[in-house]
């Protein structure tokens, strides 16, 4: 170990610079620091240009052409967009299916996750075991899980309808009835409520107990404590969760692909979601130009929704210390 030379002149640092590693100017010039920084973020830069920004711009350009991989690209102006909005009935069907799914699945999973987190936040023996049980389904996904749910939801022998039968209820035909396919997928989504639950729980455990104690002294009951303390303090997480799960639900694809025999869209196209329709256009009929137009329209929808969420969030999200910036 070399002794650090304590005779080096102490350098005054500005507050801004001290956020990063401060390097003695003698040993590293500004120029060298910039080079070092860019070397570190280089892999991300390559990925950003090659796999994100470049493709995004290419998709925009392709959306104005009749690109189909094999022949030359011809510029066709707004034809793809016209076809999307006026000629392609399936476009509207797929958009409606997706919006339906988002509108129901996001609030239900959010509410379910908050409810589960509140339960998990109680001081009860064995709470860790419960937490594990609730979280386990959240990490299981993929084809195996879709098969499991196809089995659980099968009309006559499935476990779900067997259960309803015990209460004298005739269960629906789930994946075979256009009215019930989307609720079936939402039910499946609810099974993985543990992921969101952990997020909220992480936040709740950071709330100082003294807040609850002083509320108790003033005679607040459990409900009042939840609505006046817990709920306002977890709003930043609700906000984050709603934004990410909206983006995620809008892109539902895998389960619909597997559960409708390779992406055919299910009974009466009730499971033809936006991305499934885009996938079929891009990789089954190689209508890349048209699929790119669909992709960009999806991008615009997500951006608008996120901006709306951000704007609305300013009104209801509570940040300790006032401004959340």
């Amino acid at each position: 170990m070399k002794q650090i030379d304590t005779t080096l002149p102490k350098i005054q640092f500005t507050e801004k610079a001290s956020k990063a590693a401060i390097l003695p100017t003698a040993s590293q010039s500004k120029w060298k620091r910039n080079i070092t920084g860019y070397v570190f973020i280089f892999p991300w830069l390559v990925g950003f240009v090659g796999l994100t920004a470049g493709p995004l711009l290419f998709a925009l350009y392709a959306s104005f052409t009749d690109y189909n991989i094999t022949s030359k690209m011809n510029f066709i102006g707004l034809d793809n967009y016209k076809r999307m909005f006026t000629l392609d009935d399936m476009f509207w069907t797929s958009l409606w299916n997706t919006v339906y799914y988002v509108i129901f699945s996001v609030p239900l999973t959010t509410a379910g996750a908050i409810f589960a987190a509140v339960l998990m936040n109680q001081k009860i023996k064995g709470i860790k075991v419960f937490r594990t049980i609730f979280y386990l389904p959240a990490i299981l996904s993929g084809v195996a899980v879709y098969f499991l749910w196809m089995q659980l939801l099968s009309p006559s022998t499935g476990l779900v309808n067997q259960f309803l039968h015990m209460f004298g209820i005739d269960g629906p035909n789930w994946l075979f009835d256009p009215k019930w396919t989307k609720p079936a997928l939402i039910l499946m989504k609810m099974w993985s409520v543990g992921g969101g639950m952990l997020l909220y729980l992480g936040r709740m455990q950071g709330i100082s107990p003294s807040l609850y104690e002083s509320a108790e002294l003033e005679g607040a009951n459990s409900f009042q404590k939840f609505f006046h303390i817990t709920l306002p303090l977890i709003t930043p997480i609700i906000f984050f969760d709603v934004i990410t799960s909206t983006i995620g639900s809008f892109q539902i694809f895998q389960e619909a692909y597997v559960m409708t025999q390779n992406g055919t869209g299910g009974p009466a196209n009730s499971m033809l979601f936006y991305n499934l329709h885009m996938w079929n256009n891009a990789f089954k009929s190689f209508d890349m130009g048209y699929a790119s137009a669909m992709a960009w329209f999806l991008f615009i929808i997500i951006m608008v929704l996120t901006v709306l969420n951000l704007k609305a969030g300013k009104k209801w999200v509570y940040y300790e210390g006032g401004d959340g910036k």
Binding site: A20, A21, L51, L119, F147, L201, F283, T306
Partner: protein
């Protein structure tokens, strides 16, 4: 009687009526959440006659472990498992190494444009994966990468916004004094990243690693798009095609599904605390 009363005093408010209600709800919830998994295992052990029986039995009459062997033989499952393992390990290595490397740059090196670029990193999180999917496919096919593992592995070596964010959060807590001292000792930034900061942020790296592994293991979309040669199939893709060949042999299908999920369940129980850390790290995020 008296004993139990004394116990009550020791365990302060352990079993008041509110806690009892919560406990019962949790018990019911656990039952509801675990039943599907039980059903999966139970179905996988039933005989072919028994799965057709109505109403279905909750416990298999006999445990047909042979279903697992039969199901395994229907496809090239040994090869597919190896393929999946290879892809999952490679993408885990890429994700952990590269994202921590990039995060170090954003956390500990002050360079021009750093903050603006970091905002750019965060803003890419809202770009739907499907928007870039088609151009990426065209790019990879022009490179001649279709039907190879490159499209599944290379992107993992080019950084992912969320993982960069997560590791950077953790690196911000490493005191700058440590880095300065090492610098005075003549260590380079790369040396500091590798031998000082990486060990200090191990929990974040493990979290990212676990999520990358399970993500790659469960992914169907990318293999479906890029792999057509059955020899190259992953488990997800194999399972998906396998369905067609034996239609409604639910006992075999469930046996297969159980086997595909076992590694994930094992990882879950081994690293449970890191999953929870990951959630807490994300929960600590402010805009």
């Amino acid at each position: 009687m008296r004993d139990s009363r004394e116990l009550k005093i020791y365990r302060k408010k352990e079993w008041n009526s509110k806690n009892l209600v919560v406990f019962l709800i949790l018990l019911l919830g656990s039952f509801v959440l675990l039943t599907p998994l039980w059903w999966m295992i139970s179905t996988s052990l039933k005989s072919t006659q028994e799965i057709l029986q109505f109403p279905p039995s909750f416990f298999p009459k006999q445990f047909h472990f042979s279903n697992y062997i039969e199901a395994w033989k229907t496809g090239d499952f040994t090869r597919w498992s190896m393929n999946t393992l290879l892809i999952a390990v490679a993408s885990t290595v890429g994700n952990v190494l590269i994202n921590s490397f990039v995060a170090y740059g954003f956390a500990k090196v002050s360079f021009k444009g750093r903050n603006a670029l970091f905002v750019l990193v965060l803003s890419t999180m809202i770009i739907p994966g499907f928007v870039t999917l088609i151009p990426q496919y065209i790019l990879f096919s022009k490179l001649g990468w279709v039907n190879t593992y490159l499209p599944l592995i290379v992107p993992a070596f080019l950084g992912s916004a969320f993982n960069i964010f997560l590791i950077r959060q953790f690196m911000m807590t490493v005191p700058n004094e440590i880095i300065e001292a090492a610098f005075m000792d003549g260590a380079s930034h790369f040396r500091i990243w590798w031998s000082i900061v990486m060990p200090l942020v191990k929990p974040a790296l493990l979290t990212v690693g676990i999520f990358s592994f399970t993500g790659a293991w469960n992914d169907l979309l990318t293999p479906l798009l890029y792999l057509s040669d059955e020899k190259l199939y992953t488990l997800q893709l194999g399972l998906q095609t396998f369905k067609g060949s034996i239609q409604t042999q639910w006992n075999y299908l469930m046996a297969m599904s159980v086997m595909v999920l076992i590694p994930i369940i094992l990882i879950f129980f081994l690293f449970q605390s890191y999953f929870i850390k990951g959630a807490n790290l994300s929960a600590g995020m402010k805009e």
